[in-house]
Symmetry: C2
Subunit: 345 residues, 2 copies
């Protein structure tokens, strides 16, 4: 089968690999219909983080279940599913608390979703069944369903851990696909004012379409001043969807006393002066999204009802054979997010 392999920074290629098989009774094999490229893939693509040459890559997909292990009874071959990047078992203390991204029973053995087939561990609870078959849906809806494997759930995690509630004023740091999904999530949770921090016209436009009420193009101290003016003392909640030092620093300063920063941008700087938090009662939450939990509780339903349209973050599409171009488009900021069409729907 065709699968995407990381060669070296700046280069991925499609190779012919052996089709995966059931290895454990909790596995499922999924035939991939759509996959995509994640902003986090760009770290190793750009050489910012290390990654093993020859590794199969990709962690977002939707597809059809082809085979299941003996311990699987919640899904069966033929089911159309969201394939989360997370692998929640559904019964450990983390999953039960609604944090399946930190499942204590995940084994990390499932990799390589930018491929024709993938093996998924902890499939019984982790996979999210979609009613019907791919052909029942428009391309637009398929795109939105694909975002439920990571980006939409990750944006939702920022809003959920920032504890966005009805009537809140919310600041969203980051206008990448995750930040834009954060705007959708804030609106879905009832925020009445959503301030998107963005200085790219195409992304500003999408943020406004997704529910942003204000755009702030400034950065650093100027951004802080602007938001504090707009909000008369600070926002109720802050979604940190970038992870770099300046963005995190700004995020900690634009909330009112008691505000919570929900962060999903993987932190690039570990050390932080947390007395800044203490002095203003700013909360810091967030981490890896609880993809299956959010999909099953709210997001799948919201997509199927047409309440949210996160698939609009895909601004370019590519076939699997053109995977290098899919990465390059995001690397060069020509695409907000690159869709990868693996098979006909």
């Amino acid at each position: 089968m065709k699968a995407t392999i990381f060669m070296k920074p700046g280069k991925v290629e499609v190779q012919d690999l052996t089709k995966p098989v059931i290895e454990k009774e909790t596995d499922a094999i999924v035939r991939v219909v759509r996959a995509c490229v994640c902003g986090s893939d760009l770290w190793w693509y750009r050489g910012i983080s290390d990654h093993q040459s020859g590794a199969a890559v990709g962690h977002e997909a939707i597809g059809i279940v082809e085979a299941v292990g003996s311990a699987i009874d919640a899904i069966q071959p033929g089911d159309f599913v969201v394939v989360p990047f997370t692998h929640g078992c559904g019964h450990c203390v983390a999953c039960l608390a609604g944090f399946d991204g930190d499942c204590l029973n995940r084994d990390g053995s499932s990799v390589g979703y930018q491929a024709e087939y993938l093996r998924y561990d902890n499939a019984n609870w982790g996979l999210v069944k979609i009613p019907g078959q791919p052909a029942d849906y428009s391309e637009e809806i398929l795109n939105s369903l694909l975002t439920l494997s990571d980006v939409m759930a990750t944006g939702y995690h920022a809003a959920a851990t920032a504890e966005v509630k009805a009537g809140d004023t919310v600041v969203v740091m980051g206008d990448g696909a995750v930040g834009l999904c954060g705007v959708i999530a804030a609106k879905l949770r009832g925020a009445s004012r959503i301030i998107a921090m963005s200085r790219h016209l195409d992304r500003q436009k999408l943020a406004l379409e997704f529910g942003a009420t204000d755009i702030v193009a400034e950065r650093g101290d100027e951004a802080v001043t602007k938001v504090l003016e707009l909000t008369n003392g600070g926002a109720d909640a802050v979604l940190e969807c970038v992870g770099n030092e300046q963005s995190v620093d700004t995020a900690l300063k634009v909330g009112r006393p008691g505000a919570i920063v929900g962060r999903v941008g993987i932190p690039q700087k570990a050390e932080m002066n947390t007395n800044v938090l203490f002095r203003r009662n700013i909360g810091l939450r967030g981490g890896i999204a609880a993809v299956t939990t959010y999909d099953k509780n709210i997001l799948l339903d919201a997509v199927l009802k047409g309440q949210i349209n996160p698939g609009k973050v895909f601004t370019q599409s590519f076939t699997l054979d053109n995977i290098q171009a899919a990465y390059a488009a995001m690397d060069e900021r020509k695409a907000i997010k690159s869709l990868v069409i693996v098979a006909d729907k």
Copy 2:
């Protein structure tokens, strides 16, 4: 009037000062009936933090309003009040959000509660009226009312920011007066299991009386192992009521994925590796307590109904003339918390 003055590390003394007067229209003058010594007073008493020699000290009291400024209409001379260490205006973005400890209009001019009289800024909303007069209450109830000026509200803030809810398993770090009040707060919010980290017999006994269900005497990694065993993977909420490096480090490790650490121990080490939080979705909240908010919303009522008895943290009492002994008893750990009787009830 008599007032307590900080002389140098290890020495406080009662001096004769001019009685305070109304300086601003938002001021009230309060005749103090009971005051006490705070664990945070020990920092400068022990010379760990700097403090100006000659400064009037103390920030916890109950007493009778003697005079009010022209902008005050919610209280009047003769009223019996809790005098919080915080000074919430009641109408800024912080106060409205329930974080009056971070009031944007506080001016920090009110100091010196270990005295016969004090001046209190932002008195109209900040002071908390108690029904009746001191003579209407037993000494035990007066002691509990006095804790509403700081320690009980601070313990409650740890539980509130850790988002303790009915049925939760909660770990309380610290067996000082704040930690013990944290146990009370966790129980008041419906926690079903409360693990008190304590290795002092007298404090363990009081923790159990206040509602703790388990005692863990270990520290550091041994404590983490013990709690993870007891909780089968980590607690739902952690109250950090110490502030030192080891305690904060342990607090971040004893929660399950997604748990929130509510901290009120003023952090002695600013820099923290917050990737530890991100990797397990651990939340970090807390700061200065919202004393007036908690007193008015829940704590005064709970004391008056006899639901909680936080006054038991006072294990020794002193007259104002013996203030040096009151500090020494806490410094030498002979008292959990020292009561200061300023006037007859």
